[in-house]
Each structure stands twice: as structure tokens, then as C-alpha cells.
């Protein structure tokens, strides 16, 4: 049997998502966003942006994670703050924006991890900090290993700039989105003096 017309299905799905959202039945709205790193998956609750999925996170895995940890009522629909986030990400990648002004929903991170990410959110554009320094700013100077795992589990990469945290050795260190993505973001922000300083 012939599959129903794809355009018709797409139109119906779009209209359905808008109706569902107007009724308040969409607990997590998501959109895809093309970026120089690849396609990002942006998720938002009524409280704010809750997840930025990097290309190597895998879209299906990110959607599963949102369904399991927040609500299974996950639907593709354009709504704030997603539209705003997409505009700001475009400006950021074009070098026109240095700071994100978005409502954030921190519910995917708790306790010390959240403290680490909040400290990370305050690292200015174009500069970097060490794991040890972030551990100190998060209130546990000795917990720099836990700091590393907090950053590795950052649900809001790019917006909460965990790419600005580097090992004291001056090397690039690891990144949830892969080392190449980290290098790309630091290069965009011209925050790469670490290579020179690290050589000293």
C-alpha cells in the first residue's frame, strides 16, 4: 500500500505540535539547529533551555534521555526559548555574540555538579580556566576529578562553556563533543594562547 503523502503528514504533524503546545501538553520541546559543529539538538521545558545535544551525543540518545529524565511528552515544536537560543547560537558562531542571554533549566544536573557548571558559566568569552580553579570556585578545591566528570556531563554545552576549562598542562583535555569541537570553539573565541603558554 502506498504510504500517505509525506507533505500531508508533515503538515498534520506541525499543526498537531502547535495545538498540543497551546494546550500545555508538551513537557519538552525540541528543535534541530545547524551549526559549524554539526546539527545540534536543543531541548526546552517551560522553565528554559534544558539540553544542548552535540552531534556526537546522538539525537536518538538525547531524546531518550529527555524522555527518561524529564517527561516522555517530548515533541518537535518551535517555541521560546528555542527560537531565541537558535538566533543567539548563530550570532555566537558568527563572532557577533559573546554571551548567551537565555533562561536555563538546570534540572538535569544537581549538587556539586551544578555548582561546577554555574562556576563554568561565569568564565568570560575568550578566556579559560583550569579544572583545579573551577573546583575551587565551586567550593571544593580538592575535587578536581569530580569537576572533570561534572563538565563531561554538562547538559548545556556551548551555552555553559565547559570548553573553556582546560588541564593545567596546557593541553586541550577532553570534551563531551570531542577534542576537535573543543578546539574549534576555542579557536572561534581566539582563546588558544594555551598552546604557547603550555610550551613554556
Amino acid at each position: 500500500m502506498a504510504p500517505p503523502d509525506a507533505d500531508r503528514l508533515a503538515r498534520l504533524r506541525g499543526a498537531l505540535a502547535l495545538r498540543a503546545d497551546a494546550e500545555g501538553r508538551v513537557d519538552v520541546a525540541f528543535e534541530r539547529h545547524a551549526s559549524p559543529l554539526g546539527t545540534l539538538l536543543l531541548g526546552a521545558t517551560s522553565h528554559g533551555l534544558v539540553r544542548v545535544g552535540l552531534p556526537n551525543d546522538g539525537e536518538a540518545d538525547v531524546l531518550d534521555e529527555l524522555a527518561a529524565r524529564i517527561s516522555a511528552r517530548v515533541l518537535h515544536v518551535a517555541r521560546e526559548p528555542l527560537t531565541r537560543a537558535r538566533r543567539q547560537l548563530d550570532a555566537y558562531f558568527e563572532g557577533r555574540r559573546r554571551q548567551f542571554e537565555l533562561a536555563l533549566d538546570w534540572q538535569l544536573t544537581r549538587g556539586f555538579r551544578r555548582d561546577v557548571l554555574r562556576a563554568t558559566a561565569r568564565i568570560p568569552y575568550g578566556s579559560t580556566a583550569s579544572y583545579r580553579e573551577i573546583a575551587r570556585r565551586a567550593g571544593s578545591p580538592s575535587a578536581f576529578r569530580a569537576t572533570g566528570s561534572a563538565l563531561a556531563a554538562n547538559p548545556l554545552p556551548i551555552v555553559v562553556p565547559c570548553h573553556r576549562v582546560l588541564p593545567a598542562s596546557g593541553e586541550l583535555g577532553s570534551y563531551r563533543g570531542g577534542a576537535a569541537a573543543k578546539a574549534q570553539l576555542l579557536a572561534l573565541e581566539r582563546a588558544m594562547p594555551t598552546a604557547r603558554e603550555g610550551a613554556r
Partner: protein, 158 residues
């Protein structure tokens, strides 16, 4: 903790095409879009309470079957919007409309047989899913499909 439900977007992705075919066959071309949207909205509302993620398909079609009946009743009250209106015939992508004579026969079957045959051959549901959608045993679902087909064969021969 109950088993994990997939994100609802994936339910639409996986079952949307069959659901739309089912709505065209059951609610008629003029009301298919409403049937599709109303079914998915009702499903979304109830989704967090669904206990068995493995039963999504049957559960979704049980909702759609009820919506189709509601819409049929609405259609009966508004005779100008009948499925065989020339205006309503412009769908062009569903098999039921390619062979209207056959589908008129399907619609003329006793309700349970008619619904079972539609779920089996339009929505492509398994007998287990049909049982779930119609709230019957799997054996009863199988029997409804079988008897519906037998009756159709007889009607087409005669």
C-alpha cells in the same frame, strides 16, 4: 519504576503513516485529518499514564478507533459532509480511495469485522495489536479478520 516510554515524537514518527491511512479508511477522507489530530492529541494527554511501552501501537489505534466512531457520528449528523462527496474525494494517496467499491464493502461488514480488517490491512497491525486496539483476545481478533475476509470474498463473488 515503570518501563521507559519512548519520546512521543518517536511514536508519531513510527506510527503516524499507518494512523493516517487508518483514519482515511475509518473516518472517511473528509474527516481523516481531524481523526489523525484528535487521536494523537488524546494519546499525548494520556501518554504519561501508559504502563506498557510495548503496547503503544495497539493502544494508539484503540484511541483512533474510538475517535473514528465519534467522527462518523458527527458525519451522520451532518449529511452534507459525506465521505463520497466529490469535494471530499481529492485525497489521492490512500488505497481505500483507489478501490472505492471494495472499501464500500469493507465498511458494510459488521462493525467488529470491519474494524479488524481495516486495522489488519490498512494500518498493518498484528493480530496481537488488533486485540489490544479492540479490547478483545488475540483469538477473537484473528477470528474477526478471518470472518470479515470470508464475508468479503463471498460478497465480491456474488
Amino acid at each position: 519504576m515503570p518501563a521507559r516510554l519512548p519520546p512521543f515524537e518517536r511514536v508519531i514518527e513510527e506510527h503516524g503513516p499507518a494512523l493516517l491511512r487508518f483514519c482515511v479508511a475509518e473516518a472517511g477522507p473528509a474527516r481523516a485529518d481531524d481523526c489523525f489530530q484528535e487521536s494523537l492529541l488524546a494519546a499525548l494527554r494520556a501518554y504519561p499514564r501508559l504502563r506498557d511501552p510495548g503496547a503503544v501501537r495497539g493502544w494508539l489505534f484503540s484511541i483512533a478507533a474510538r475517535k473514528a466512531i465519534d467522527l462518523h457520528r458527527a458525519e451522520a449528523r451532518a449529511p452534507r459532509r459525506r465521505a463520497d462527496d466529490p469535494e471530499a474525494g481529492d485525497v489521492g494517496c490512500e488505497a481505500p480511495e483507489r478501490d472505492p467499491a471494495l472499501w464500500a464493502r469493507v465498511r458494510a461488514l459488521p462493525p467488529k469485522q470491519h474494524q479488524a480488517v481495516t486495522l489488519r490491512y490498512v494500518a498493518d497491525l498484528s493480530h496481537a495489536d488488533i486485540a489490544q486496539a479492540m479490547g478483545t483476545s488475540e483469538a477473537a481478533a484473528r477470528r474477526n479478520v478471518f470472518e470479515g475476509l470470508a464475508r468479503l470474498r463471498k460478497a465480491l463473488r456474488g
